[in-house]
Symmetry: C2
């Protein structure tokens, strides 16, 4: 039996399984899966070097299914091969019985690729479209760094190719000559609601790819020999170190082999009953005409990856902030007595780069603002810096790819622009990614540049993830707001220690030191800066400085206030409420962002306790505009230290401060 | 004096102003502005048909400055022309004295384009990059609909062109043959941190645009005649109804005319003191060599737009849900007693389309899931439906453009995918846009598809905007969660009545009716479904049904609970707390999303009152996975009605229910 017939036979077998699996689940996308039957077969049963019983083996070739809804085709193949499934270290072979439980609560086979739920074949959760190619790029960057000759295949839908992030990822692949990545565009002509635009026709996609600098091959995605030839050409080029990335545009049929389920009406609607029987019969007939022999797998064999022993990279000691700055001729800067949190982050990141080979830094053309530049410009670290240019979505998903390969990626941009990648951050959290996101110029202290550059609802959004648990049982995210350079430095190191997602807000202005070398910063903790008895002021980040000034005025008015730097969410709620009780239950929370952040976190804790507290919140309650400097914008938004002192005094019935 | 010399003289005059304005402000991006000196001059003083004293005149040509940091060049020109500035109806000419206050608190001249702060020349706030071309596309769609022959120019930075959203917008422009839009790429070779990638070189950008289907002209962006020729070619094509969109790639110099501030070190760093003097001298010298005559404006004149009287489009009456369904042969569906909120939204949207010519619908390839399809398939409405395909960022910014042209755009996709456009939504809010965002399949009731399709932190994010005020003094956003079809229908109509941003969450499952034709739904209100005295359960959306079931169990256990459908945030907090007090201060809040949402909103209100409440929150506290159906996933996440009843009973010390 020829290779061609064997691939047809296997693809038809897998396609049948997809139809049955989805019919049984009552949902899913069998026709999309069927458009990938042949490509998946050639990849998994012929081209890829991998181990079904160890799908995450470090030197294995990888497959990223960007169009996650096509996942039944992978499940079908893995069941056929007895590929390993299971959470954590509990692994067993996938069976055809498992397929009966597709999309069920106790199944490893989630509706879309979901590695953390027990399907380690995948490196990242996909299903929110347009993200997989960036993940593939991150995997390729990690492999290059590790000296592994690994190919990374990425299957992208034609409709999905409309997502701008795909173009951002293609640009990164060209910039970094990531020829080990092979983007394969599955042009089956149909999106969900309708046919794809002519802009996403195979001809147009091919032209676009060529204009971007790719070496493009257009194939019939159901022609086994054409698929094999394209994949072999890529493999030889990539393995040989070629530096012109290739892309494949595959013309396919949604619902291939079963005419009755082709066309536009079958997206996400598996045929059942008679319609299912008809589709299965059609597939059989297609099989008879194409294979014209008994099916045999003899032409299909899986090649294993080369054996690989990951280098053990001992983690080094980290110096103190002062020692690090002395070492890098920044002693004078330290002695100036003021340093922006974004700069201290840059120093911490550079220290981490030297202490661990796993640490990577990514930026989106603002490294001289976020201070990842101090990592990028260090010649020992430069090859672990990824300049993503102005494409934040791609940056975050590429970081998720780096994390999947065992790296610790720090992504930085203005906090405002990080918003572009919120969907990608959520998918990274769903993927169990060890990703650190650092947003600079957060809050209103940026002043003159105005609201288009300020992160304002970011605290509310990231706090939402602090309220739930990730797959490791940790908070879905830690939200960190350092008030000074020591805090920013300490929290940068603490983020690297923690396996999981973190978001740290840094601010533009140089600010005075509040802490010193001896202060220890831990995720989940807070710091009591002043202990009083009349009123507890809770704040974080830049606003700690403003609150400190307010304390002076309150002191002059005879008010003995406490001040807490709540630099982490989540935090030790019991300890905070104890402090509140020691202050008559009066709490004033101060934030330089829109509501739903720190103040709501304190309110949530307070009401759960059932005790009576009076909690007032000052935060940004208007859309800010430009102002000359910090003082002017704090006044504009009612957050000047005089406003804080007035609010605090008002809570205690004191009229003037 | 030739046209060429006049443009050089004017551009140099404006460039000087930019340098001085930014030096005085101590911040800003003069060198980016200078790269646009000539193009701006030819546009504003020659090509565009507009009225400086009435910048928003409806038939005027428009300029969208996507690279918002270049804004000083526009301010310089407007001051030169005495263009109108001022908030609302208070308008006065901009003066050169105003330029001294660039970026100050009381100035109309914000750091980046900010129409709502008194600069009506712009249609949208920009500065977060990559969004302007989508806004331009929205303006063009509105103009076509209104029968206005209006050209829309969009200035895009080369570094900015990396943002995937630019490609999404280019695709939409080709799909809809929006030849009135002229994208002009300002290729000055420098981003912020470094030179742009070769992927964003003028040659590569030109190739990409050609591959997308544009008719591309590459020019020297400082050659007055070349600029005029390109703009005239476009104007003749667009005014003549040509249907092949054009694009201009302009090779420019960052800091043109002043060699000492060119190159990579001057992004966002205005020269001051001697460096400023040197740059100004260089500009003078450049002027002498290029104009070789006294400057004169005689070659530059501004052409006015055609007079235009907007059609008065009377708003029609809206029928009841039942009447609408009868009218469209959906009577049987109504009689079934169950209807998904997403479907009722689709009916409401269709009703709105018939009652107001201003209503537009936009979708991102999921119209058959969000049910904007009932609008799209109505032949009377189809030309107000915009199929954006899978590009949510572009969809939202295009909607902002439609709003700027007086339309009422409704954007829909899965709530999860709406996350892609959060930055765009915030910029729309900053722009004062009258935008309605509808996220479908929100929360966990989607079940089988898994977490990649579920909106979970969305309530926390949108709630953040409900805590502050927009430029009209209204909440920055209304967050709406209808529990049944009547609520979804009523709130859809209520959104259209309100001028401002709204986000409505709809859910997948068909659900029973809770309300009837007589229930009135108002933004900012809530509905008391059951009045008890032991405990107040507060919930919204899909979870109202689950809480209703829990009430039965509680009733059997002798617990007399109250139930509130808090369908709007913000809401009447005093009225809600009164109810809580009538229920012993015991409140249980139930949500099908991550924390920081409804429960925190209730907690914020409670603690501000200073009264003692005990508030517990049940929400999604893990990353969900696929489950077969609603019941299975509610159990998985601890939100089944039995969990709710148990939690409620537990608050009252009752062990078993």
């Amino acid at each position: 039996m020829s290779f061609e017939a064997a691939v047809h036979a296997k693809a038809i077998q897998l396609d049948r399984t997809c139809l049955e699996m989805c019919a049984n689940a009552g949902s899913g996308h069998p026709t999309t899966a069927m458009s990938l039957g042949h490509i998946t077969t050639v990849l998994l049963y012929n081209t890829m070097r991998w181990l079904p019983d160890h799908p995450g083996y470090p030197s294995s070739d990888r497959l990223v299914l960007s169009e996650g809804h096509a996942v039944p085709i992978i499940y079908a193949a893995m069941a056929d091969l007895g590929g390993a499934v299971g959470k954590g270290s509990e692994r067993r072979p996938l069976t055809s019985d498992d397929l009966q439980h597709f999309r069920e609560n106790d199944s490893y086979l989630d509706g879309h690729p979901n590695p953390m739920e027990g399907f380690p074949f995948f490196d990242a959760a996909t299903g929110s479209l347009g993200q997989g190619l960036s993940v593939a790029a991150g995997l390729a960057i990690a492999a290059r760094r590790d000296g592994i000759s690994k190919r990374i295949y990425c299957l992208i839908g034609d409709g999905e190719a409309r997502e701008g992030q795909i173009t951002e990822a293609l640009d990164l692949i060209i910039d970094y000559k990531l020829s080990s990545v092979l983007p394969i565009f599955n042009c089956n002509h149909y999106g969900q609601a309708d046919q794809v635009s002519e802009q996403q026709s195979p001809e147009r996609i091919a032209k676009r790819l060529e204009a971007l600098g790719f070496d493009v091959t257009v194939i019939d995605g159901h022609d086994p020999d054409a698929i094999r030839t394209a994949l072999t050409t890529h493999a030889e080029m990539a393995d040989g170190g070629g530096d012109t990335p290739m892309a494949v545009v595959a013309k396919t049929v949604k619902g291939w082999g079963a005419p009755s389920v082709q066309g536009g009406g079958w997206h996400g609607k598996p045929p059942a009953g008679e319609r299912l029987d008809q589709a299965l019969e059609e597939l059989n007939a297609t099989g008879v005409s194409l294979t014209s022999a008994l099916s045999s797998d003899e032409q299909l064999r899986i090649y294993p990856p080369v054996e690989f022993e990951p280098a053990t990279t001992p983690e080094g000691e980290t110096p103190s902030l002062a020692a690090a700055m002395e070492q890098w001729d920044m002693g004078l800067l330290l002695k100036s007595g003021k340093l922006a949190t974004r700069k201290a982050f840059g120093i911490g990141l550079r220290v981490l780069g030297h202490s661990s080979e796993r640490v990577f830094a990514l930026d989106a053309d603002v490294r001289n603002s976020t201070f990842t530049e101090w990592f990028a410009q260090d010649k020992d670290l430069a090859d672990r810096f990824v300049e993503c240019k102005i494409g934040e979505q791609n940056m975050v998903s590429a970081a998720a790819g780096l994390s999947a390969a065992g790296k610790i990626p720090f992504c930085a941009s203005f906090g405002k622009f990080i918003t572009r990648a919120y969907d990608q951050i959520e998918m990274a959290i769903n993927s169990g990614a060890n990703i650190k996101v650092v947003g600079s110029h957060c809050g209103i202290s940026l002043a003159a540049d105005g609201p288009s550059q300020m992160a304002l609802p970011d605290v509310a959004w990231f706090r939402s993830f602090t309220t739930m648990r990730d797959h490791y049982g940790n908070p879905g995210c830690y939200l960190l707001q350092p008030a000074d350079a020591y805090a920013a430095y300490g929290l940068t190191l603490a983020m690297a220690e923690h396996h999981g997602a973190c978001y740290m807000r840094t601010a533009r202005p140089d600010v005075e030191f509040i802490y010193d070398e001896n202060t220890v910063f831990n995720l989940g903790k807070f710091e009591v800066l002043t202990e009083g008895r009349d009123l507890l002021i809770v704040t974080a980040g830049y606003m700690v400085h403003e609150c400190n000034k307010a304390l002076d005025a309150l002191d002059r008015a005879g008010i003995d206030a406490s001040l807490v730097d709540l630099y982490s969410i989540p935090f030790d709620a019991d300890a905070l409420l104890d402090l509140a009780n020691q202050n008559g239950g009066n709490v004033l929370v101060i934030e330089d962002n829109y509501g739903g952040g720190l103040g709501s976190a304190v309110a949530d804790a307070a009401v759960e306790s059932g005790d009576a507290f009076t909690i007032e919140q000052l935060y940004v309650k208007r859309i800010p505009k430009s102002a000359r400097d910090e003082e002017a914008i704090l006044k504009q938004c009612g957050l000047h230290h005089s406003d804080i002192a007035r609010a605090a005094a008002g809570m205690l019935g004191v009229v003037s401060v």
